[in-house]
């Protein structure tokens, strides 16, 4: 069974003046895949992701996301993707319900649809009891689960997760990954950017960016075999050392 | 002591590396003083007026000359009859009409009394008032000149004399106010921001967990601003003397001392604000709403305190700026010394001590 590509990137480059932040990266991501996009701070991850979600114009190269060209159809891309970041997820001063309604609204969901989705979402997370509580009063782990569900509200083809589980307790983190596996299983593509290497272990395939270039791209298992180590952390350390 | 100096050195680095604070420190005072001095003024200049002279005799001629010679008025047109007054106003150019009665000179000599009607455009009541006051005072001056040598026994002429600011220059009123605002702003807002910035950054935690004593941290924060505020005070005074020709009648030394006192008052207010706010943004909001507005509205800087409703008059007593403005006006315009300003000075001093006490009480050596 050959799966279709939902992200296709070819020689994508971004320059800031003389500085090449992203240097001709090429990769594709298949439908339903959990793709890890790794790199140290400043390696160009964030810049690359901004180009893919249509908020930064590439300098050169080609990229298609959810079937749309990043150069010409950035607005269509935004409608077809979800985004969740650990830094900003939900409004602390709104209740869980209000947050869901708000985010459903900005993605153009109708009121009845939002209502229906809200009930389904709360039930799935088992959070009916806190539906009318302020998000700020909830534990971090719950917030993150809600915010992931919220990013799926408009049934996007691809969800971009920016360091989703840093600092979360180990059990909640597993529950979070189970949610990710579930939506991937249903055909949603998951694009995870992170510099936490243990997050990388959960991905189907990972790419590692170093200084604007993709230096490695494969399944975690093959990368570990290739570098003859036990963890992605060590893969990263070896890779960084080789570059230096 | 070395610790303390190291701290102050660091504060200066912060100030000189932040373009925003540099602008507030040095750009604002100059901009404000020029703005208030030139643009926002309630004095009148070259107001165009019309004359309706029914007598056209020697006296009216002299009065008209005197008025047009002053820099406050210029004569736009001469009207021939009452019916044209309204039309003249409606064109919008003129702000007042002087209407001399028939046989002005004759009446003045014969009946010792003659009438001029002053009609002003009261769509802007303040200006209308000012215009009629100015015209009155010109007329009175004229009368005085005329009567110099003659002793008239039967008439009481009210003589209004504008002293201390005989030319009614509003910039003289604004300079003390602007100086107060700027010193308040620089001292209170900048210190409260710089202290809360350390809280936000987390560096305050390290400073607390260091042998540096809390009061050293606070004094270290304050010293650079005393220094910079003094520079500001000097700049403002120089600007007002050289650009606006403002006199400083009293002692410069006393002026300096009182300024230092007020700067310290403002700094302690800044410290107080920083103890109750956790972020730079809150500190800024409190400084603006809690300090700037009262200074502008209730200190007598723009609105005279005597014409405020009683409750506001009472509140105004608690605003340090009010007392400082009185002191400044006293020294700069009236040239009085400490013998007449001791009460205001003492009030400021007491307020400062109170704020210092409160800050020390409020300042936490811990995070809670």
């Amino acid at each position: 069974m050959k799966k279709t590509n939902v992200i296709e990137v070819e020689n994508l480059t971004k320059m800031f003046g003389d500085f090449t932040a992203v240097n001709a990266i090429t990769f594709e991501v298949k439908k339903g895949e959990i793709f890890g996009f790794l790199g140290a701070n400043g390696a160009g991850k964030t810049t690359a992701m901004k180009m893919l979600i249509g908020i930064s114009k590439p300098t050169s190269g080609k990229a298609k996301v959810a079937g749309f060209d990043v150069f010409t159809h950035a607005e269509d891309i935004k409608k077809n993707i979800g985004y969740m970041s650990q830094k900003f997820a939900l409004y602390d001063d709104l209740t869980v319900k209000e947050n869901i309604t708000f985010f459903g609204g900005i993605y153009g969901l109708s009121r009845p649809k939002i209502k229906e989705k809200t009930i389904a979402l709360l039930e799935e997370l088992g959070l009916q009891e806190v539906a009318n509580q302020l998000v700020g009063s909830l534990p971090l782990g719950w917030k993150q689960k809600i915010s992931f569900s919220v990013s799926l509200l408009h049934e996007p083809q691809i969800v971009f997760l920016d360091e989703p589980t840093g600092g979360v307790d180990p059990i909640t983190r597993r529950q979070f990954w189970e949610m990710i596996y579930k939506s991937a299983n249903q055909g949603t593509t998951i694009f995870v950017t992170t510099h936490y290497m243990d997050e990388a272990e959960y991905c189907d395939r990972v790419s590692i960016m170093v200084e604007g270039k993709i230096e490695a791209l494969d399944t975690p298992k093959k990368l570990k075999d290739q570098f003859k180590v036990d963890s992605m952390n060590e893969v990263f350390l070896k890779l960084a050392r080789n570059i230096e | 002591m070395k610790r303390f100096l190291g701290f102050i050195e660091k504060e200066f680095y912060h100030i000189f590396r932040d373009k925003r604070s540099l602008f507030i420190l040095f750009g604002m005072p100059i901009a404000q003083i020029l703005l208030f001095g030139f643009a926002i003024t309630n004095e009148i200049n070259n107001v165009e007026i019309a004359i309706l002279d029914h007598s056209k005799d020697a006296t009216t001629g002299e009065i008209i000359n005197k008025i047009s010679a002053s820099k406050y008025f210029s004569i736009n047109q001469f009207i021939e009859q009452e019916a044209d007054i309204e039309a003249a106003f409606k064109k919008g150019k003129i702000k007042a009409v002087l209407n001399f009665e028939n046989d002005f000179s004759k009446n003045l000599v014969k009946e010792k009394q003659a009438t001029i009607q002053v009609i002003t455009d009261a769509t802007d009541p303040n200006t209308a008032n000012t215009i009629s006051n100015y015209i009155n005072s010109i007329l009175q001056n004229y009368q005085l000149d005329q009567n110099k040598d003659i002793k008239i026994v039967y008439q009481i002429v009210p003589q209004t004399r504008m002293i201390y600011n005989p030319e009614l220059k509003s910039v003289f009123m604004f300079v003390p106010g602007v100086m107060t605002i700027i010193l308040m702003l620089v001292s209170a807002m900048m210190t409260s921001i710089s202290i809360t910035r350390e809280k936000e950054l987390g560096t305050m935690e390290i400073l607390l967990v260091s042998p540096l004593k809390p009061f050293q941290v606070i004094i270290g924060k304050v010293v650079p601003y005393i220094f910079l505020s003094m520079i500001n005070a000097v700049v403002i005074i120089l600007l007002s003397i050289f650009i606006f020709k403002m006199p400083v009648q009293g002692s410069l030394f006393l002026l300096g001392l009182e300024s230092v006192l007020f700067i310290i008052t403002s700094l302690t207010l800044g410290i107080l604000i920083s103890t109750i706010s956790a972020t730079q943004q809150t500190a800024m909001m409190i400084s603006l709403m809690g300090l700037m507005l009262p200074v502008i509205l209730l200190s007598g800087f723009i609105f005279p305190i005597s014409s405020m409703p009683a409750p506001l008059q009472i509140i105004s007593h608690f605003i340090p700026a009010k007392w400082f403005i009185i002191i400044l006006k006293g020294i700069m315009l009236k040239g009085v010394g400490i013998s007449l300003l001791w009460k205001e000075t003492l009030i400021l001093l007491a307020m400062t001590l109170f704020f210092i006490g409160l800050s020390i009480k409020k300042y936490k050596i811990r995070l809670e």
Binding site: Y202 | G6, K10, L201, G202, S210
Partner: protein, 300 residues
């Protein structure tokens, strides 16, 4: 004992941040406080660095009481708060010089202690701290915390937000500092860093789950853990959870960590069950427990 805590409790309004915490850190020990965000690590650090009062209990640092002798503690400890608290608008050298001055010392006086760390950032000494990478900020913050030669060093999540290379270097630096006789209390949300400490306390929701050496903690894990892999991760988790004998099922990277309720059982039965659930490429292998497994078991 370098640090002693006895029955420390602390609440903020409604939230109980710390519940009856007691432990000891020995002289010259590298002690790790391991737990997720919100576990109470920062509150604990602030109590020990005299920044907060505990509601109940007593604590000693370097022989001084955290309430009565707070001044003495402030002379004797180094503290690196969660975010690298540096002056962003000062250069590397100015930051270090400033912290040296307020502690009444100079860079030269204690250069020996920070040399290892500082040489790595010295080439950038004229760069503003705000312009440094995460790893360099971390090194500078550590240098600043060490410049007065503290007896006890408190490091609150020093490796959060730092890339793996810098994290590794950072732990190597801590080991070297320990050899110079400094007691170190370090907190981290990363379970994999726990193994680098002499002893660790696992902490969650304000409670200590366990205190021991990393080796002893994993050794006492009560069950055998199996690494189970299959081609469909989500289906694998569902099937394992539905399995009547399953005790715990946790995704763990490319595998699932599975424990069974039974002490002895036939692996083939499980394999058959999974294959009957339409899973392919099923692999089952026993594996060693990690700190994270223990943490989850204790927090369950």
């Amino acid at each position: 004992m370098s640090i002693t805590l006895q029955h420390i409790s602390k609440s903020y309004k409604k939230v109980e941040a710390l519940k009856d915490i007691s432990f000891e850190v020995k002289e010259n020990e590298l002690f790790g406080l391991i737990g997720p965000d919100g576990a109470g690590k920062t509150t604990l650090f602030r109590i020990l660095t005299t920044l907060l009062f505990a509601d109940e209990g007593t604590a000693n640092v370097a022989g001084f009481d955290v309430v009565k002798d707070y001044k003495a503690i402030r002379q004797n400890v180094g503290y690196m708060p969660g975010k690298f608290s540096l002056y962003q608008d000062l250069t590397v050298e100015e930051n270090l010089k400033f912290f040296a001055t307020i502690f009444g010392t100079t860079i030269d006086e204690n250069y020996e202690l920070i040399k290892d760390i500082y040489v790595q950032i010295e080439p950038f000494k004229n760069r503003r701290a705000g312009k440094l990478s995460g790893g360099m900020k971390q090194k500078l913050a550590l240098s600043c915390a060490l410049i007065h030669k503290p007896k006890v060093l408190f490091l609150d999540e020093p490796t959060t937000g730092v890339d793996p290379v810098s994290r590794k270097e950072f732990w190597e630096m801590l080991k070297r500092l320990q050899q110079k006789g400094i007691t170190i209390l370090v907190s981290t949300p990363y379970m994999d860093e726990a193994a680098l400490c002499d002893r660790i306390a696992l902490i969650q929701d304000g409670k200590i789950l366990k205190i021991d050496t990393p080796e002893a903690i994993v050794k006492h894990y009560p069950k055998t853990i199996y690494n189970i892999g299959a081609n469909n991760m989500y289906q694998l988790i569902l099937s394992l959870n539905a399995y009547e004998h399953s005790y715990s099922v946790y995704p763990f990277g490319e595998f699932v960590h599975y424990t069974d309720q039974r002490t002895n059982f036939e692996l083939n039965d499980l394999k058959k069950y999974l294959e009957a659930e339409n899973l392919t490429g099923v692999s089952i292998q026993s594996t060693k427990p990690t700190i994270e497994d223990t943490f989850m078991e204790l927090a369950k």
